[in-house]
Assembly symmetry: C2
Homo-oligomer: 269 residues x 2
């Protein structure tokens, strides 16, 4: 089992920012990434629909033999984690919201903490619950930023349009003086420069990718699941639609080239 | 059959601009609208996937007994019209691209004609083909405007952000001096003010909604399918996800209130 890949699941390409952090921390591991590009975005969909899609996507990864599953989509993490853990037990399932909440508290132990995310994540209140589970008295404020995902997917990550959209979403939130700002959607790190500029120097930006990678590292160690083989690992990508677009736009998020022949089109229905 | 509804199908809410034109022209008819909100947007998806989704969606409308089908989604019109006509014959199926092309030629018989649309519609080249079928020598230029859909769905239809995005997409196209600009996505009429401001007074904006409504009117007449009953017609809406969001955001496109109890959640898979 140690040679099996680590499965990573996202609604589209945003989860590649998590894969990027995982590859940096675990250069010896193989990764199998699934992006449900036919049905993205998840962030504007209902909890029931997202949970159903998440179980289908995870099932496709499990069928190809994975040793651990990373839910690299905040919206799916927020509404589908218990369903995934139950359905695929004893497979270890690691989400991005728990690690993101811990990173936020490390950056701002007494708060206030601001969370920006999709409509679905905000509505599910998953970050608020995860932060309050550790620190019930910390003030948490939320803001949905629906245009950040299409801006990132268009590669419009800086410049005046991105800055105006950032101010539109953030100014009211920032007036309440948070100490930390959680990038609660895996697309948002692509806009980190613009968000940081709008937020100013007094606010620490929290990206759950690195904390999630650290948690995966720990889980592999505890379960003796590290890959022993020293040969260069191969990485594969499954998408439910438009593989060429995935290869082209995915580079923005993964930070390296994605070879078209590493991408396979799959049907989840 | 005359008392049956006219079915309207779209990937989400944009098709409500077509329903609005239909209701204005045919106030006595009943309409049954289906928005595939669980799987929107169609515009960034591949032709095969969109065609499969379109047949499923049309099937759900046919099952509820409709007398005519309007494909109120440019992307689906561009790739799925032959499949829909074959699958559901002899049901009359009317798309938005044919009427849009005719309206463009009426506004600018000698061209050049500019078409703005989703990535899928541009890639399928459906407007270019439809215009050249009538006027092979007219110059047609195309531009995909992927951010217009999320801007419209966010209600960000005017103001400086919408204007900057419009200039980003249109300036190069407008430098080539088109006489007509086709709004080749049913979401775009919501941004008509902003697009018109960017395009200037020398360019006629063409919206296929009214031409489509005229073609439906003609088809009903030819087939003796007009509703004779003079009682006020009822209108129903089927959505595949998030009915509350549909009721709230749909008003922008339909131009009137959508009662929550007229909306029903359906599963197409």
């Amino acid at each position: 089992m140690n040679d099996a890949a680590i499965g990573i699941f996202d609604s589209g390409m945003g989860g590649l920012t998590v894969m990027r952090a995982l590859m940096a921390l675990l250069p010896n591991e193989r990764f199998l990434y699934l992006g449900d590009t036919a049905r993205l975005p998840y962030g504007t969909k209902s909890a029931d629909t997202v949970a159903r899609y998440a179980v289908q996507a995870a099932g496709a990864l499990v069928k190809r033999r994975i040793k651990l599953l990373v839910v690299a989509c905040n919206t799916a993490s927020g509404v589908a984690l218990p369903a995934l853990q139950e359905e695929f037990a004893p497979l270890p399932v690691i989400d991005v919201i728990g690690p993101g909440a811990e990173a936020a508290l490390a950056a701002s132990p007494k708060g206030p903490i601001a969370v920006i995310a999709t409509e679905g994540t905000v509505k599910a209140g998953a970050y608020v619950r995860a932060i309050h589970a550790h620190a019930p008295d910390v003030e948490v404020m939320q803001q949905a930023c629906p245009l950040f995902v299409p801006l990132a997917e268009e590669g419009l990550i800086d410049g005046v349009i991105a800055e105006l959209v950032a101010h539109r979403y953030l100014d009211e939130l920032l007036a309440r003086k948070p100490h930390a700002l959680v990038l609660g959607c895996t697309h948002y790190p692509a806009l980190k420069g613009t968000i940081g500029k709008a937020a100013g120097l007094d606010v620490t930006l929290v990206d759950s990718a690195e904390t999630t990678a650290a948690r995966v590292d720990k889980a592999l160690g505890e379960r003796n699941l590290r890959r022993g083989d020293a040969s260069a690992p191969d990485h594969r990508f499954l998408v439910t639609d438009a593989p060429e677009r995935f290869a082209r736009v995915g580079e923005i998020f993964l930070g390296r080239k994605i070879e078209p022949d590493a991408i396979e089109l799959v049907d989840l229905q």
